[in-house]
């Protein structure tokens, strides 16, 4: 269980995240949405241990700040929006980097680490690509490689930053379906920042809506993503339509 209490982040005296309190249950999928500059990515960076903050951040009741880097990385894994892919690095080698928090200092990978990477590749149908440089893969394939590294890292909490950016609609759905499957198979807790409100409503259990660093609302997508709230926060003219169990957010002219 992830707990944030009154978490704030300031850059140059400007509050980017402002007094956010939030709990995320084990196995839950929470989508963080909000207009550009609302603090979505900064909040995710707090959870990844990449940004200094005021307030409290606990993982299973333990203060995250008291954890060593490695300990944190064994609990929380990050899937970055725009990963830096080292030129020439093979898929297998890249996925093996996920084992970093499990290695002894200055040691190489053990049999168990190689097996973990291998089963991650197998799970994502990437074994055929194992020796290919990551840079030669398509956008959708690269997303799968990133998810494979996430699996290899074997952390119960996955932070996913804008997973659908730069993907076409088919690949957007494939990636999110994949994350959802892994969540069920491995009991992952997923916290994702999402640009696309319809996808944010269709995937995940709960939505947290940020506005200028503050938590404006949290809850089921149907309660949070309303025409009123979206027009107030995004300054957008939208219709929120029902589509079976889910919502569709449609821009209007």
């Amino acid at each position: 269980m992830i707990g944030l209490r009154d978490v704030s982040v300031s850059f140059d005296g400007r509050r980017v995240v402002d007094g956010v309190s939030l709990d995320v249950r084990d196995g839950e999928w929470l989508n963080i949405v909000g207009p550009n500059g609302a603090g979505k990515t900064t909040l995710l960076r707090v959870l990844a241990g990449l940004t200094a903050f005021d307030g409290a951040f606990t993982i299973d009741g333990r203060d995250a700040r008291s954890m060593k880097r490695k300990e944190l990385a064994r609990r929380v894994a990050l899937v970055p929006q725009i990963p830096q892919i080292p030129p020439g690095m093979s898929v297998a080698h890249y996925v093996l980097l996920g084992r970093t928090p499990h290695l002894r200092p200055l040691a190489g990978e053990s049999r168990a680490d190689l097996d973990a990477a291998r089963s991650a590749l197998e799970r994502l149908d990437l074994l055929a690509f194992a020796e290919r440089p990551v840079t030669t893969l398509s956008g959708g394939e690269r997303q799968r490689v990133l998810v494979a590294r996430l699996l290899a890292q074997d952390a119960p909490v996955a932070l996913v930053d804008e997973p659908t950016t730069a993907l076409d609609v088919g690949h957007q759905q494939q990636v999110l379906d994949l994350v959802d499957e892994l969540r069920h198979d491995h009991g992952l807790t997923v916290i994702a920042t999402m640009h696309d409100l319809t996808l944010a409503a269709q995937y995940g259990d709960r939505v947290a809506l940020l506005d200028a660093g503050r938590l404006a609302a949290t809850g089921a997508a149907g309660d949070v993503l309303t025409e009123d709230s979206l027009s107030a926060l995004y300054g957008a003219r939208v219709r929120v339509l029902r589509d079976g169990d889910s919502l569709v957010v449609v821009p209007r002219r």
Binding site: P80, P83, Q84, P86, A92, T100, G108, L114, L121
Partner: protein, 350 residues
């Protein structure tokens, strides 16, 4: 059904280690047998084997030839191995830690900083020995660290993660400045202008084993440390944020790698002056041949750097024989065009 391919760690393949060792042996035998007096290479090879513990072989060398080999050439070849290995391993480590394919101890200004430090120590009269450790490389180490930090600080004035070229420009500025100060210091000492130039152009001369003894402890420490840290350079390659989220202490790793790479540079420069481009050429050739993982590049750079510098020294000794060309001129002659090739290849990648 066929087994799916096994996942291998990005480790050293035995074939490449063997290749590196063969390169070292070939360069070593060539360095020992060729010169003003040419001595048969197979006999030199047997002569060296004869001196290995537990082996006794008659090499057939005359006493005079054996003296040339053991008193003149072996110390010089061994020093060439050490300096070449040090420069190449520090170049590959700087490239990894700065995520900059153009980083090289010479181009970063690190070598010039080492030169300045060593010069100040010698002219200032703090040339002592502390057990196996001589103070000159320590002063060179301080100069190297200063130069690297200065180059890095200058390059990040406009923000972090700037283009590789900016770090290089900063390094060249630092190098020029350090070399200027060093020249000034040396000029004030009477009649050392020749010294200054041989230092700046790089040289590999020995008087017996004293240079080897001077550099050996530092070489052992820095090479061992950088080889141990090599996997971390692979993690660092995905960027600071991702490396942190993978559980690596980025700051500590960066400090450790820079410190040991600076020590390697300082050790090499203390005995050989400024020899450029070895740290650039060797890791890139290794990368082309054996793959892009630093786990492969760092250790292989030691072997191929050692072989490369001994061969360069051979060119320096033979090209205008009996006169010697400074070895830094030879490495620059091959290295500078190579630098252009690396730039071209980079452009295609980006």
């Amino acid at each position: 059904m066929l087994d799916p391919p096994a996942i291998r760690a990005a480790g050293l393949r035995p074939v490449w280690v063997a290749g590196g060792l063969v390169a070292v042996v070939v360069a070593g035998v060539a360095g020992l047998s060729l010169g003003a007096v040419n001595i048969s290479a197979p006999r030199v090879f047997l002569e060296v084997l004869d001196h290995l513990p537990g082996l006794s072989i008659d090499s057939g060398l005359s006493a005079r030839e054996a003296d040339i080999v053991w008193q003149l050439r072996v110390p010089r070849v061994v020093l060439g191995f050490l300096v070449g290995g040090l420069l190449a391993v520090s170049g590959s480590s700087f490239q990894g830690v700065f995520r900059n394919p153009l980083a090289d101890p010479y181009l970063l200004g690190a070598a010039a900083g080492a030169g300045l430090g060593a010069t100040l120590a010698i002219t200032g009269g703090i040339d002592w020995e502390l057990g196996p450790f001589d103070t000159v490389p320590l002063a060179a180490f301080a100069g190297t660290l200063l130069a690297v930090l200065l180059a890095y600080a200058v390059s990040t004035v406009g923000g972090r993660d700037t283009s590789p070229a900016v770090l290089l420009l900063a390094g060249v500025a630092v190098m020029t400045f350090m070399t200027a100060v060093q020249t000034f210091v040396l000029q004030r000492e009477a009649d050392t202008i020749r010294e200054v130039y041989t230092f700046i152009l790089g040289r590999l001369v020995t008087a017996g084993w004293s240079e080897v003894r001077l550099v050996l402890p530092y070489a052992a420490v820095s090479i061992a440390a950088l080889v141990l840290l090599r996997r971390r350079l692979d993690v660092l390659a995905v960027g600071d944020d991702e490396a942190l989220s993978l559980g690596m202490d980025v700051t500590r790793t960066r400090i450790a790698v820079v410190a040991f790479a600076a020590l390697a540079t300082a050790a090499a420069v203390s005995v050989s002056g400024l020899i450029g481009f070895v740290g650039l050429v060797v890791p890139h050739v290794v990368r082309l041949l054996a793959g892009s993982s630093f786990r492969v590049i760092v250790p292989l750079s030691v072997l191929f750097g050692a072989a490369f510098l001994v061969l360069a020294d051979l060119v320096a000794r033979l090209a205008l024989s009996p006169a010697e060309i400074p070895i830094g001129v030879v490495t620059a002659f091959f290295g500078a065009p190579f630098f252009v090739l690396v730039l071209r290849a980079r452009r295609r990648l980006v």
